[in-house]
């Protein structure tokens, strides 16, 4: 309940934040909403020596549409995402996910950037980022780079973000009219994290067949993953219940669940199947299918 001692700064510019990161190296951790980091610090599972709070840095939050992208500031809260009309209409699976993270108080504080940088295997947003083909805008002292979501998540609690870099913005390519997306999750009865979460983005051709699909699954393995096989199973087909079922079966085959108090491996694979079918059905429906 009492974190170990640390030093704290809340710089007012990104440059200052980067300088502090450079100065303190591995001892430093960035603090956004704190809803991944502070719980670990209270239990002393994490004991950073130096916290760099991003809250005073201008322009790190906000959601705006520009040139074929939805730009989301890394400090945007889950509540802001869930309440955003832009997100709801342009990336509905992100609104689905944001509204189901934790609980209302958590959503009022937790941020998209914090969640993505933490990369908890049971978190919701990494899964959505994969299915959205999101681009992570990252700023470091060596400059700015953009990391595709698939290259951003590299393992359990691990991203390709360097220790001296800051995730500043998430850019999501916009869907066209015949694209629909959805996220559905089975929540852990206590923590409310995802036992399994499936994000699906479906683009339909004029004839109603699937032009392309992006499907990602999280919660059942060290990190969220895209399921190329399931995407391929949809492509070129009318997304009937049978086709969706077959694609969901490939999602279930792709996960790597562990037996625990929440269920057997077979049960968890079944959950992946069921929630993949639900996400796919909803995405297809939203795509006008």
């Amino acid at each position: 309940m009492y974190p170990a001692s640390f030093s704290y700064s809340s710089p007012t510019s990104l440059d200052d934040a980067l300088a502090l990161l450079a100065e303190h190296g591995e001892d430093a951790k960035l603090l956004a909403g704190g809803h991944s980091l502070l719980p670990l610090m209270k239990l002393r599972f994490a004991q950073p020596r130096y916290l760099v709070d991003l809250r005073r840095i201008a322009n790190l939050s906000g959601i705006e549409r520009s040139a074929g992208e939805l730009k989301i500031g890394a400090m945007s809260t889950y509540a802001a995402l869930a309440a955003s009309d832009l997100v709801r209409t342009l990336v509905p699976m992100l609104a689905d996910a944001a509204a189901q993270i934790g609980d209302p108080q958590v959503r009022n504080r937790g941020t998209i950037g914090g969640s993505l940088a933490h990369a908890d295997p049971a978190a919701d947003l990494p899964t959505v980022m994969l299915a959205a083909d999101a681009q992570m805008a990252v700023v470091g002292r060596r400059g700015t780079r953009v990391i595709p979501a698939q290259a951003f998540f590299v393992g359990m609690l691990t991203t390709s973000l360097a220790p001296d870099e800051v995730l500043t913005e998430i850019r999501i390519p916009l869907a066209d009219a015949r694209e629909g997306s959805a996220y559905d999750k089975c929540r852990h009865p206590a923590s409310r994290f995802a036992l399994v979460g499936v994000a699906a983005s479906i683009r339909l051709a004029a004839d109603g067949t699937v032009l392309h699909a992006r499907i990602a699954v999280g919660g059942m393995g060290p990190m969220a993953v895209r399921v190329a096989g399931a995407e391929a199973a949809l492509k070129g087909h009318a997304p009937t219940a049978e086709v969706r079922h077959a694609a969901a079966a490939l999602v279930a085959a792709a996960v790597d669940p562990q037996e625990d108090l929440q269920g057997t491996v077979a049960y968890k694979r079944n959950l992946a199947q069921v929630y993949a079918e639900r996400a796919l059905a909803s995405a297809v429906h939203r795509a006008g299918g």
Binding site: M1, Y2, P3, A4, S5, F6, S7, Y8, S10, L31, G34, H35, L38, P39, M41, K42, L43, L51, D53, R55, A79, G102, D103, P104, Q105, V106, N108, R109, A190, S191, R192
Partner: protein, 163 residues
């Protein structure tokens, strides 16, 4: 030590705090506002819920230094001019509390819930209280209390007919 300035229940406070001080400990120990409770250490129970710039937060998962410059409302600050907040009245009238330990957090969460949704359904009330645990009431009368307060607040917000 870090210096912070916060407005708590309308009063501006300047304090030196250790960076590791949680907002809930700052409120309880430095300001003696012990109505905000600590019921867990994993950010689940919601007993520590306060409003930070109007939004409900778990004050056990906010550092006091993160609240620098913010306005905070605790359970002690919601009655106005000696009048209970409608949620306080409703929790009392609907028997929405037993041991009373979760109650301040429940009420603070409910304030935010009704701010976002003045006319919640029963399901929306239950979902809106997802971040608060009660072990006594089975939530039945808490849900009733929030619904009753919502109705009362809507009625109060509707201008009376003038002939």
């Amino acid at each position: 030590m870090a210096q912070i300035t916060v407005t708590v229940n309308g009063t501006t406070e300047h304090h030196d705090v250790e960076p590791r001080t949680l907002l809930v400990h700052f409120l309880r120990e430095r300001l003696s506002l012990t109505g905000t409770h600590v019921g867990c250490d994993t950010s689940q129970c919601g007993a520590c819920t306060v409003l930070l710039d109007g939004a409900s937060v778990k004050s056990c998962t906010v550092l006091a230094v993160q609240a620098d410059g913010a306005s905070i409302t605790t359970i002690e600050g919601i009655a106005k001019d000696g009048q209970y907040h409608p949620l306080q009245t409703a929790f009392w009238e609907q028997h929405g509390l037993q041991c009373g330990f979760c109650t301040p957090g429940m009420i603070m969460s409910s304030i935010d819930l009704l701010r976002r949704n003045p006319s919640p359904s029963e399901a929306e009330i239950r979902a809106g209280l997802e971040g608060n645990i009660c072990r006594c009431t089975g939530y039945h009368n808490i849900v009733n209390a929030v619904a009753a307060a919502a109705e009362q607040m809507r009625a109060a917000a509707t201008p009376a007919h003038v002939n």
